[in-house]
């Protein structure tokens, strides 16, 4: 009788305790940079965790197994995040803010590296932590550098490619104007001419940056201030605006992300497609692809030669809160070694960052687009390397979208973009 009287409150207290323990994780940590964290644990060796978004091509697990077999006392645990870039970003932010020591080596998209470095979350890769970047493509190293310090190791790269129907257009266009003049061929066959990614999302920033950079303009200068009001930048955006106005970019092009454009191209309804190299495998092997043997790949057309593709890709970084940084550094070197890069290319169709691999005969045999991709990446211009990147990309997206749809003139769009980019760094 006595115990039953206290059973209910005890049970309730137990449930409460369990629920409160589920609210683990602290509130916001300190916001100032901690020089102390960067200098700590430089010689620590032990088990580490590697955090990356979804491993769609199953390249990471074999590599981690290989490392674990060779280093049984410094085992790596692979933590897989979601496959949505925004969610990966938010997950990393939450764990860095909580100073989680369990996130040792993290995979960061090229556009987040500056932001995380400026927040003091990434270990500078200098002195004891330095790695060899001499063989890597300069554009990729630029994305991993912030304030003249290397904060991450380039791991994979990505560049824009022009997919074209080689049965309708035997030689690919070398300049934008040439490509626009070939749109009559598309019209005569009743298909759309050119599409990229013009929906209002990060892909639009990529395409707008390519248009601006290919025409000789830039988006931000070295001081971080916007340079989009130059005549070259306006001319670049005007290319897209004019193409949409006269129908060379189809009306539904403003709703296209990567997949919609790929679908249209594979259905044979598109003559030229700007997309990432991943389309190659799918267009060649998809059951529903109507262009299996009739498509080719070329570098993006520019003003008077190859255009400036936007650089995609991922970098590997070490967290300042890691307790085993020496192990992390060795793991970094392993994951960016030539052998691993080759494995990424053959197994996952992920572009390597080591320049010499693009000329390697075995790789080229397996991935025939490698020479085209090398031209693309050699001429690539990274998107603005800014710690305020979310605000900068929003400024570009909103105004480029309005200009392309004709809601604003190009001049007005560039003026607004200029003000918005500059106010982002306030």
């Amino acid at each position: 009788m006595n115990t039953r009287k206290y059973l209910l409150p005890a049970a309730v207290a137990g449930v409460l305790a369990m629920s409160l323990s589920a609210c683990g994780g602290g509130g916001g940590g300190s916001t100032a940079s901690s020089g102390g964290d960067a200098a700590a644990n430089l010689d620590g060796r032990g088990p580490i965790t590697y955090v990356q978004g979804k491993d769609n091509s199953n390249v990471v697990r074999p590599l981690v197994d290989k490392w674990n077999a060779a280093h049984p006392d410094q085992k790596v645990t692979f933590k897989e995040q979601s496959d949505q870039a925004d969610q990966q970003h938010d997950d990393l932010v939450q764990n860095f803010q909580a100073k989680n020591a369990n996130y040792d080596v993290v995979d960061v998209d090229v556009i987040w590296t500056a932001e995380f470095a400026a927040k003091g979350w990434l270990q500078p890769l200098s002195d004891k932590m330095s790695i060899d970047t001499s063989k890597m493509l300069p554009a990729t190293v630029k994305t991993a550098t912030y304030n003249n310090t290397l904060f991450a190791a380039p791991q994979t790269s990505d560049g824009g490619i022009l997919f074209y129907r080689k049965d309708l257009v035997p030689t690919p266009p070398k300049t934008w104007d040439e490509m626009m003049s070939m749109c009559s061929i598309a019209k005569s066959h009743g298909i759309d001419c050119y599409a990229g990614q013009f929906a209002k999302y990060e892909g639009l920033t990529v395409n707008a940056a390519e248009a601006i950079n290919s025409a000789g303009g830039t988006i931000v200068g070295d001081d971080g201030k916007s340079t989009v009001t130059s005549a070259a930048a306006k001319a670049g955006l005007n290319n897209l605006v004019t193409a949409y106005k006269n129908g060379n970019i189809p009306t539904q092009g403003v709703t296209y992300q990567e997949e919609q454009g790929r679908q249209s191209f594979e259905d044979g309804k598109l003559l030229f497609l700007r997309n990432w190299p991943y389309v190659y495998n799918l267009a060649k092997t998809d059951g529903s692809s109507k262009v299996k043997d009739t498509f080719g790949m070329a570098p993006l057309p520019g003003k008077s030669g190859p255009g400036a593709s936007s650089l995609g890709g991922h970098n590997l970084a070490v967290s300042v809160y890691s307790q085993h940084k020496a192990t992390a550094k060795d793991f970094l070197a392993f994951m960016t070694s030539e052998e691993t890069e080759k494995f990424y290319a053959t197994q996952g169709s992920l572009a390597p960052v080591i320049g010499s691999l693009y000329d390697d005969p075995t790789l080229v045999q397996q991935l025939p687009y490698l020479p085209v991709l090398k031209t693309s990446i050699s001429n690539a211009v990274p998107r603005p390397v800014s710690p305020f990147y979310p605000a900068v990309t929003k400024a570009i997206q909103d105004n480029a979208y309005a200009a392309i749809k004709g809601d604003k003139s190009v001049d007005q769009a560039m003026t607004d973009m200029d003000t918005a980019i500059n106010s982002a760094s306030q």
């Binding site: 300190s30 539904q252 973009m417």
Partner: protein, 339 residues
């Protein structure tokens, strides 16, 4: 001389034996000990609610008065911004970025249009859902064969997670999707302003009408059938029965349902975020908040607080002036009738 003159009056509440020196012991003592018991039993839930609800809200309000991190020009690293007073709120309400007006392309320039869009969505979707929900509820209130199957089937749109619904309608409203094929049109549903808004309204109404229908159905079932019969006998037409009997008696349940829907619609996020990513004039306040979180927490906290105040104001108007009795019973309270 009967020994059974009066029936023995039973005490109103069971009471323990009266102790010495205690007056009218039974009720007081039971109430106090029950009161104490109740307090201890409720306190764990209260503590949990305080941690999960009160602490984040209070923390967000405190954060709203701090500046976002700024870039130290020398070390190029982010440092704490310090107190900001009302700057964050001015940034949003007056659309000021620093000393100048916010340029298009920044989040600050979208506050008032987001408020307008949110209210537009709320009013249109709630009106449509109420009308359609009422119609569905009236049908479901009748007795016919298969009524329970209909009631279960009607709930399916509400049961599907909103993200799935959004993707579904995204494909339906694609340029070469079913919507255009069926009507033979070439509308750029997710690419132009008004089509995008109507696309979102249609999918939201599809999803949430069952919810309204069920809440209104619950209200309809309270109305006793005799009232209708009496009205029929008196010669009231169907329309008169509807407006003079159904509407007034369903009003309490209806107002509660409308209040819930309005509060939900003011916080709409997933549908516009997935279908149009907030482009073409479909950015709601919640989308603005989530976008701002990636650019600066404290400003987002300020926007969140403003959203909270707007929704609180709307709810207050509903409860105070429109008589939505969310907590008490369906019958109106009158003094002196409390038990």
């Amino acid at each position: 001389m009967s020994t059974l003159a009066q029936p023995k009056r039973a005490p109103e509440t069971p009471s323990p034996k009266p102790k010495k020196g205690q007056k009218e012991v039974g009720q007081d003592r039971a109430a106090t000990s029950q009161g104490r018991w109740a307090f201890w039993l409720i306190s764990p839930a209260l503590v949990l609610l305080a941690v999960v609800i009160v602490y984040p809200v209070v923390n967000a309000i405190i954060m709203a008065f701090q500046k976002d991190q700024g870039l130290d020009p020398v070390t190029k690293v982010f440092v704490s911004g310090g107190p900001a007073g009302f700057d964050n709120f001015v940034h949003w309400l007056a659309q000021q970025c620093g000393s100048a007006a916010c340029a298009p392309g920044t989040l600050g320039s979208q506050f008032w249009s987001a408020v307008g869009t949110t209210f537009f969505f709320t009013v249109v979707t709630v009106v449509l859902e109420t009308v359609l929900g009422f119609w569905m509820a009236v049908i479901m209130a009748r007795t016919f064969r298969g009524r329970s199957a209909l009631r279960a089937a009607v709930l399916v749109p509400w049961a599907i997670p909103t993200a799935v619904t959004a993707k579904l309608w995204f494909f339906i409203f694609a340029f070469d999707g079913i919507a255009n094929k069926l009507f033979g049109t070439a509308i750029l549903w997710t690419g132009s302003e008004w089509p995008a808004r109507w696309a979102i309204i249609i999918s939201d109404v599809w999803k949430t009408t069952p919810f309204m229908a069920l809440l209104i159905l619950a209200g309809l079932q309270i109305i006793p059938a005799e009232v209708y019969e009496a009205a029929k006998v008196d010669g009231a037409s169907a329309w008169q029965r509807f407006t003079q009997i159904t509407l007034p008696l369903v009003k309490p349940a209806l107002m509660v349902a409308v209040l819930f829907r309005v509060l939900d619609a003011l916080r709409m996020y997933d549908l516009p975020a997935i279908m149009t990513q907030g482009s073409n004039g479909t950015t709601t306040l919640s989308i603005l908040v989530v976008d701002q979180i990636r650019q600066g927490f404290n400003s987002a906290a300020a926007l969140s607080t403003i959203t909270f105040l707007i929704i609180f104001l709307v709810a207050f108007i509903f409860v105070r002036f429109l008589g939505a009795n969310a907590v008490a019973s369906a019958t109106p309270k009158t003094k002196g009738q409390e038990k």
